[in-house]
């Protein structure tokens, strides 16, 4: 969901750059005075946006200006890798020590980047820059300061969380637009009045409010109620305190007691039209400015934004992205200049015009480019008005980890019919505390001595090689040795790849799994932990849920896949044109990229407008919420996997063709019925292939990643946080590579054990006599 929030903000960045006024350049005297030849063969790598964004042309314009100013300089604009990868790509560049001069990060990542020493302190550059004037920017810029007050980046765009409302819908129910100081009670009353079953079919189809449910969006309720996430020193969670519990109970009440709330489709699936957009919710929020980008196409009703309703006090949270100069910049001077340009007047105004964030530069935020008097919403000023009450999330080194630690409990509070809010809050608090405590002792841990990893790696490799040489039996004669040599020669390419890409990295992962290491740091900075990571696994409820989800997915998808593939193969085994054509159609989904599979199924399974629920509803069948229901999300992925069952089907068809039809005919003559023939003749002949398909199916099932990564990101709760996904998140989101490596090894051991067991058990039912001689 972070991507979702980034998405809107991301195009924020451009206006300043375009202006790059001479004055500014004059201050950067060193770069300005450089002779042209000095720029030859120099590059400035800028990664702040996606090519498909509307802001890209503005960026290109900046690029041209820069290149014209510094002849020979090559400004490279790079995609962030799509919303799916946009947090990961800068990290890979940092890890890879690749030149990256200007990047855009989310303010919630700032703490982590800062703690890992991943950013360049801009303060010295400001000091040399006479044109720099911090008062040109809104106070949100302070979100990018470290404890000393040094500034590390300039705001691209930001947004406080506000409430969207459907003015027409409220009016139709005799209600006014919310006043600026409206309260929770006002909200509740309005929601009650606007929740209706329009077509009388027993299902509510118009809700008072469509709620958002990620931590950043839920936090305002807690703040409004006088609670907080962490104590002032950032060492202890306050989520278990009564204020927080009461706030969450109120939000939960809207959903499950008052039943005046639902979730907007945008939560899971921002590409589809949400409830609010469809005119079926009076309120939508708390959510940021970026939604105006989607809602600008709404023609059917009038909508606007209001501050969030007050509880005991007014409060809201802030999202922001900022331009930074990463540690791996090779041209910090130029990078600084580019950042100034991006945060400058022209580019900020461009971002304001495009409209998916509030520009950080005051002049742009107050300009007509942002306020857009002729375009909805009418009250853009609300986003500026609420700033005094707005706060960032706590500036922790690893906010993302905390958010993930809480997210599953949070989702169960909001989603589940039955939930003890206080207990869930207690669990959130306990997990957060445990994590914070661990972070504090981290720094005290011993470093892994220099070269340990290399030493361990080379020793293990040598050991494996030695073991292989020692164990491979007596020395044969000359001819056999010549044969052996040619065999080894033919295996060289594979062996190289094996060592470089599998064995070596797997060993390295094993070593890392005994350490604490952030991929943003040098490998030499890893801290020795021993088996702590594995011990943590044993008590980590998320890991247990992840294991359970993966196991249930495998337990369902593997046998069902086998059955379906077998049934299809029996149905389609003929040579006729019809069967051949049908076979092709059944197989084709198996060649579709998982990314596309996930994209298409996301829409097919959409609870509100998806094709599947549409059909189910028409047949009078229940319509589950699929990927949004913790009980249905695993079945949803099973369904997706069944769609790609064509490969297994083909293997079965091939095996059926190879099978001895005489045996079947003999059984037919002996009077065996269809079922008996299948059970006693056909299946035994297929048994080696069944084993084969089961093995492959098992491997694939346990390694499912792309689909949940794109569709649910592990939710709701942890219901689809499959092992590889959790591994990935631990390593790349929480920057806890050691823990991720431990998961990897557990997964590997699990797979090896399962595979071995399956193979062992197979001796009972696999009829090797069924093998055909070549």
């Amino acid at each position: 969901m972070r991507e979702r929030r980034l998405g809107p903000l991301r195009s924020t960045c451009y206006n300043g750059a375009a202006m790059l006024p001479g004055a500014l350049l004059a201050c950067c005297a060193s770069s300005w005075s450089a002779a042209p030849q000095e720029w030859r063969d120099r590059r400035l790598v800028v990664m702040v946006d996606e090519r498909s964004f509307e802001s890209w042309p503005g960026l290109v314009e900046l690029e041209r200006e820069f290149e014209a100013r510094y002849p020979g300089l090559d400004v490279r604009l790079t995609d962030m890798g799509g919303a799916v990868g946009q947090q990961d790509k800068p990290r890979f560049m940092l890890t890879g020590d690749l030149q990256l001069d200007v990047a855009r990060i989310d303010v919630t990542e700032f703490g982590a980047f800062l703690a890992e020493g991943a950013l360049v302190d801009l303060e010295p550059y400001f000091a040399r820059d006479a044109s720099w004037d911090a008062t040109q920017y809104l106070a949100v810029i302070d979100g990018m300061r470290d404890a000393r007050g040094h500034l590390y980046g300039l705001t691209s765009t930001f947004s406080p969380y506000v409430m969207y409302y459907n003015r027409d819908l409220l009016r139709a129910h005799g209600l006014d637009a919310p006043r600026p100081d409206w309260t929770w009670d006002d909200l509740l009353a309005a929601c009650r009045a606007t929740t209706v079953d329009l077509d009388g079919d027993g299902r509510i189809d118009q809700f008072g409010i469509s709620l958002t449910q990620w931590l950043q969006a839920v936090t305002p309720w807690i703040w409004q109620n006088g609670g907080d996430l962490l104590d002032e020193r950032g060492e202890r969670s306050r989520l278990a305190e009564p204020e927080a519990v009461a706030a969450l109970t109120f939000v939960r009440g809207l959903l499950h007691e008052e039943r005046v709330a639902s979730f907007d489709a945008s939560f899971d699936n921002q590409l589809s039209q949400g409830l609010f957009q469809a005119g079926r919710a009076a309120f939508y929020g708390p959510v940021g400015y970026w939604e105006t980008y989607r809602f600008k196409y709404i023609e059917d009703f009038e909508w606007d934004v209001a501050p969030l309703p007050r509880g005991q006090r007014a409060a809201t949270s802030l999202a922001m992205t900022a331009y930074v100069v990463p540690r791996t910049s090779r041209e910090p001077e130029l990078a600084y200049e580019f950042v100034r340009a991006l945060a400058g007047e022209r580019f900020q105004r461009l971002l304001a015009r495009i409209g998916n964030g509030v520009p950080g530069r005051i002049s742009a935020a107050r300009s007509v480019d942002f306020l857009k008097p002729d375009v909805a919403p009418a009250s853009e000023h609300v986003f500026l008005d609420v700033l005094p009450q707005a706060r960032f999330m706590p500036p922790l080194a690893n906010w993302r980890k905390i958010e993930d630690l809480c997210s599953s409990e949070l989702q169960s509070i909001l989603l589940l019919e039955q939930c003890d809010v206080a207990a869930a809050c207690g669990r959130m608090a306990a997990r957060t505390d445990e994590y914070l405590a661990r972070e504090r002792v981290r720094a005290a841990r011993p470093r892994l001595p220099e070269g340990t990893l290399a030493l361990a790696l080379s020793l293990s490799m040598l050991g494996a090689l030695g073991l292989f040489v020692a164990r491979r039996g007596p020395r044969p004669g000359r001819i056999a040795r010549a044969e052996e040599r040619s065999a080894y020669a033919m295996l060289v390419p594979w062996a190289l790849g094996f060592c470089a890409f599998f064995f070596g990295p797997a060993l390295a992962t094993l070593v890392v799994s005994l350490c604490e290491w952030s991929p943003l740091r040098e490998l030499g900075d890893a801290r020795w932990l021993g088996v702590d990571n594995y011990a943590r696994l044993a008590t980590d409820p998320t890991f247990q849920r992840s294991l359970a989800a993966t196991a249930s997915y495998a337990a369902a998808s593997v046998p069902l896949g086998l059955l379906l593939a077998l049934a299809l193969a029996l149905l389609l085994r003929d040579e006729g044109a019809l069967a051949t054509g049908a076979r092709t159609l059944v197989y084709v989904p198996a060649i579709v990229s998982p990314v596309i599979v996930a994209a298409v199924w996301r829409f097919l399974l959409d609870p509100d407008r998806g094709l599947l629920n549409d059909a189910l509803f028409r047949c009078g069948l229940p319509t589950p919420a699929w990927t949004r229901d913790p009980d249905w999300v695993v079945p949803s992925f099973v369904l997706m996997s069944l769609w790609s069952v064509g490969g297994q089907m083909l293997v079965f068809v091939a095996a059926l063709k190879a099978a001895d039809r005489d045996l079947e005919d003999a059984a037919r003559i002996d009077g065996a019925g269809w079922w008996r023939r299948l059970w006693h003749v056909t299946l035994p002949q297929l048994s080696p292939v069944i084993l084969f398909n089961a093995m492959i199916g098992l491997l694939n099932a346990f390694q499912i990643f792309a689909q949940p990564y794109i569709v649910t990101q592990g939710g709701p709760g942890d219901a689809s946080r499959f092992l590889v996904l959790y591994l990935y998140e631990s390593g790349f989101r929480h920057l806890d590579m050691g823990y991720a490596s431990a998961i990897a090894w557990v997964l590997f051991a699990l797979l090896a054990a399962l595979g071995f067991t399956l193979w062992r058990c197979s001796a009972r039912w696999v009829h090797q006599s069924a093998r055909r001689a070549a």
Binding site: L585, A655, A706
Partner: protein, 273 residues
């Protein structure tokens, strides 16, 4: 008779169910922006928007460049994969040597290793080789036999060749390398095609490696460009589906062209274990 009709109906229903999501994808891709999801095929009769495809291509960036990059990566991967895996498969199937079983177990064990397990160390390897932001990290794993399953497939295939062919060739003066090249490979055409198609699909659809390793826009690939469509507010579903269809099309074409040999390879894989 009724059994045949029943079977026929079942067949048609199955095929249509499996085709449905792709038809849906095409249908959405042809709708007017904002109407794709709720829209039906019938709308397309009077209100089709093939220009979505043009828009999608344009949003993806320098399409010819993307296509060329993807083709280069794919072709190199296929060539490398076929050579390395068939070499290793031949050695495992046709040469007696000490430690063969142990090495083969190592090959199979790699299949159990999730890609993500080795991602970071692998990244460090490529970084230290100075290969980041080149095609090497995308191609080298394939060239160096990165897919153990294919080694397994080739081994199975070569096991089906009569031993006398190899013996005859050895007596005729061939070393194993020559036998592999002149005898085994030409006879393994179905398996070459099968593995070739699998590699093609893997390389063509690979999103993870380009994401991790490619940074320069001039080296970007189609799937990466497609990924940048995902979950972005600026992109209409209709354009995203159009882009998906564009990226998918070559896979379908390659599959249909090579289908016959591909199925023969699958046949071998299925009938010999």
């Amino acid at each position: 008779m009724s059994a045949r009709v029943l079977r026929w109906v079942a067949l048609v229903v199955c095929a249509s169910l499996f085709a449905l999501p792709l038809v849906y994808m095409l249908s959405v891709s042809l709708h007017r922006e904002g109407t794709g999801l709720g829209g039906s095929l019938a709308d397309l009769a009077h209100d089709a928007h093939p220009e979505n495809y043009g828009v999608a291509l344009e949003k993806m960036g320098d399409f010819p460049r993307l296509l060329a990059n993807t083709v280069v990566v794919t072709v190199l991967s296929i060539a490398g994969q076929l050579l390395t895996c068939s070499l290793a498969g031949y050695a495992f199937a046709r040469i007696e040597f000490r430690g063969r079983d142990a090495l083969f177990v190592a090959v199979l064990a790699t299949m159990m290793l999730p890609e993500q397990v080795s991602a970071i160390p692998r990244f460090l390897v490529f970084r230290s080789l100075g290969m980041v932001d080149t095609f090497a990290p995308l191609v080298l794993p394939a060239v160096l036999g990165g897919a153990p399953f294919f080694i397994f497939l080739f081994r199975q295939y070569f096991l089906t060749l009569p031993a006398e062919l190899t013996e005859a060739a050895r007596i005729d003066g061939c070393g194993h390398l020559r036998i592999w090249w002149s005898i085994a490979l030409p006879l393994a055409r179905p398996m070459l095609v099968t593995v070739g198609i699998f590699t093609f699909l893997a390389a063509w659809n690979d999103f993870w490696s380009p994401l991790v390793y490619l940074f320069s826009p001039e080296r970007s690939t189609l799937s990466l460009a497609l990924a940048s469509f995902n979950r972005t507010y600026d992109t209409a579903v209709e354009h995203m589906m159009a882009a998906s269809a564009v990226v998918l099309a070559p896979c379908l074409i390659v599959y249909f062209v090579a289908q016959k040999l591909f199925l023969r390879g699958v046949q071998v894989a299925a009938s010999k274990h």
